[in-house]
Symmetry: C2
Subunit: 486 residues, 2 copies
Amino acid sequence: MKINVLGCISRRFFASSVIPKRAPFAVLSDKDIAFFEGTVGKGNVRTQDLEDYNVDWMKWYKGHSKCVVSPSNSEEVSAVLKHCHDRQLAIVPQSGNTGMVGGSIPVYDEVILSLKRLNKHYEFNSITGILQCDAGLILEELDERLRKEGFMMPLDLGAKGSCLIGGNISTCAGGIRLLRYGNLHGNVLGLRVVLPDSHGSIVDFGSQLQKDNTGLHMHHMFIGSEGQLGVITRASILCPPAPTSVISAMIGVSSFSGCCSILRDARRFLGEILSSFEVMDAATMQCLEENEQLHNVLTSAPQFCLLIETSGSDAEHDEAKVQRFLEYVMENEMATDGVLAANKQESAFMWKLRETAPLAITKDGYVYKFDVSLPLDHFYELTDAVRERCGDKVCRVVTYGHMGDGNSHLNITTKEPSEEVEKLLYPFVFDWVVAHGGSISAEHGVGQMKRDYISVGKSERIGELTRALKPIFDPRGILSPYKMVV
Amino acid sequence: MKINVLGCISRRFFASSVIPKRAPFAVLSDKDIAFFEGTVGKGNVRTQDLEDYNVDWMKWYKGHSKCVVSPSNSEEVSAVLKHCHDRQLAIVPQSGNTGMVGGSIPVYDEVILSLKRLNKHYEFNSITGILQCDAGLILEELDERLRKEGFMMPLDLGAKGSCLIGGNISTCAGGIRLLRYGNLHGNVLGLRVVLPDSHGSIVDFGSQLQKDNTGLHMHHMFIGSEGQLGVITRASILCPPAPTSVISAMIGVSSFSGCCSILRDARRFLGEILSSFEVMDAATMQCLEENEQLHNVLTSAPQFCLLIETSGSDAEHDEAKVQRFLEYVMENEMATDGVLAANKQESAFMWKLRETAPLAITKDGYVYKFDVSLPLDHFYELTDAVRERCGDKVCRVVTYGHMGDGNSHLNITTKEPSEEVEKLLYPFVFDWVVAHGGSISAEHGVGQMKRDYISVGKSERIGELTRALKPIFDPRGILSPYKMVV
């Protein structure tokens, strides 16, 4: 994949107005570094070789921080934030640095607050299913620990091997099983947050209880706020029992309206065990074939491939439900063909197709990526509209995504970055999405990438309220300036 | 049940400091009434026979409002709130008036904003399961409409026949199936809210999409805020498919730790179909027997009765799972006895026992009611502690509740209201709950009843933040003054 090493993609997309000028924050001094070293230990303040922290993993954004501070507990985070508040030093919390929108990358010389060392506390109650853990623990490791006790994390996503739970919560990450286990607002019960105020206040919002109706439910303000209001250092999360039976199937469909009918029937037939409903269009499958030599398991070369998964507690029951569903679909000629995974290997291969798609498209050269929500009526119309608009100026227009959640990942590939294509896509796609009742960010967040578009389709009053809320938590506006809140 | 007609129960509990003095709000004038009549229509402004609005259904609280205004759409709510803002008139939103803590009852002469006429809009997408509806629709009626399309509301509670969905959301109501379908933060996707500001701003927070990660997720601030920040007029709600198979069973258990073991195994054996896990102690069953002549279906006279329900999409599968679970419980001598409901009538009778409990206790004379969350380790210790403390000064100490959610409904009955018992219970119970990691309000909210205790066990910073947040939405503090936010 071509790397946009020159800097921020959004700077290129939206001309010079996008990134505000550097605000009059203080400039990092030797005294600041000495303070940080005294607080978190000399070995945990980094001032050289910061590339891994200044650049996001997609290598789309590049910041210019001179210092990465890595505290190991809430008290150290508090001391650092209080210092930054008092000194008026800008600071950006960074979790696993797996984000897609530059949300955890500095824009100028903000201090980077790395949360990787906040990874000690883990406490799980196997009767209630409530986990309390530090924000710096890796999603996959949490999931593995819970599985040993018959439970699982309520979210799963591609970056699970390196993303941290605190970052997941800050982004309100979605993933491939949201359809079944719900969003993080439903599953996060409480948060310990450190505020960038004059005390570096450490505050427990919410609780470790499934129900707590006392006072404003303020912890939800930090879920999806992308580190704008405070730094999450610990979380209480409700975890579901892990399934003992997982079944995957792929179905070929000739039209998107046919996919919608199948979704309706999947809910009806599979009910409580339906855990994923993913779509890949023919262009995605062709790209997997050409760029990765991965062959579709379906032989009908359908317009759409649906990857459907169930998760349940009884293999025999689940198989019967899936069988009945597939028979219904085939008998009613709703599908061109279908394959039920006979074993874990076949299931893993189906998921490999889906999970390799984001990688496969990068091999065309350059990718313009979108993560949008759309009402199903318009879900695939966008792809058609973009195809028509871009014509032969692009290599491919492919769409895959979490159809069961209305979440489309639209991707447009070119051989090289192209200003012409950028101008065709931006702001066209965002405007189209908003005009059709969608959201310009389904699960990736706003970060640097969509900063200028955050208010599209929203009432001006929401902007006013946002600007009024920010200083209540962050009185000097030092936390992740230049992003999201506008 | 004895009625505390003299006024507010909390005023009695917590002495004179509890209810703040009437703030210097304006006094309702004929011009105000004329304005309201011009806005919502003469027939929808009530100035006489206000008892049904000034007194809560438990008859614990009595307000002194002179005027009930009943708008029928967001625009009318906006005009009313703008007028109240400009005139500095205090106003209390009132939904179905089924609350348990006096949250929707005026304290002095606040205008009552009745939301019952906001009941027109209903729009449901049977593929996505997303409902958009007006806030004044009755929960049970919404559920009935959805069932016709194979879906259901994600919450269910005793007051469903008269509570309104807007009030449910404002209270973050829980109910008997939260264990399965999750809380309202997980299910409410967006809200239309009217703010009591100089514009009477009508703002759409969140969206009608399952995923929307643009900006602060502000609609969550209104869920559980008990009408402190704005008036919910419309909601988007994710609704699950309705089950086609519902099975109920009752199990007798000799110890509370035994109940915990059964909860753990119920999650394991029943997995995705477990929908309720309710507890009633022996004192509850005795009260049902004595006061309502309702006999326990269990013959072992156990210390605890568990009412367990499953909801699934295949009766045969569900029966097999329940059978296997019950066999495990009986074979391992975890239960004194158990009964599986053979049909709907038997199931209905089990639920009748559970749902009659709140009524049965009132027949002792007077009831001190608590709605608390507790970690399961301490769930029933509280009942024992209260029994020991109150001794023979009370008729009974009974506990029932949503054990699967850690939600205990502790009730203490006396023949007459007793100052001595009050002093034994308050603040003892609240202090005990907080000291043991619990919450003084699990699902009923704070309202007038627990106003003075809202900050117990919480950091002072939360109070400061709450007081800073309130005026951002309600600049003149006219909305539900005297409650919750302190």
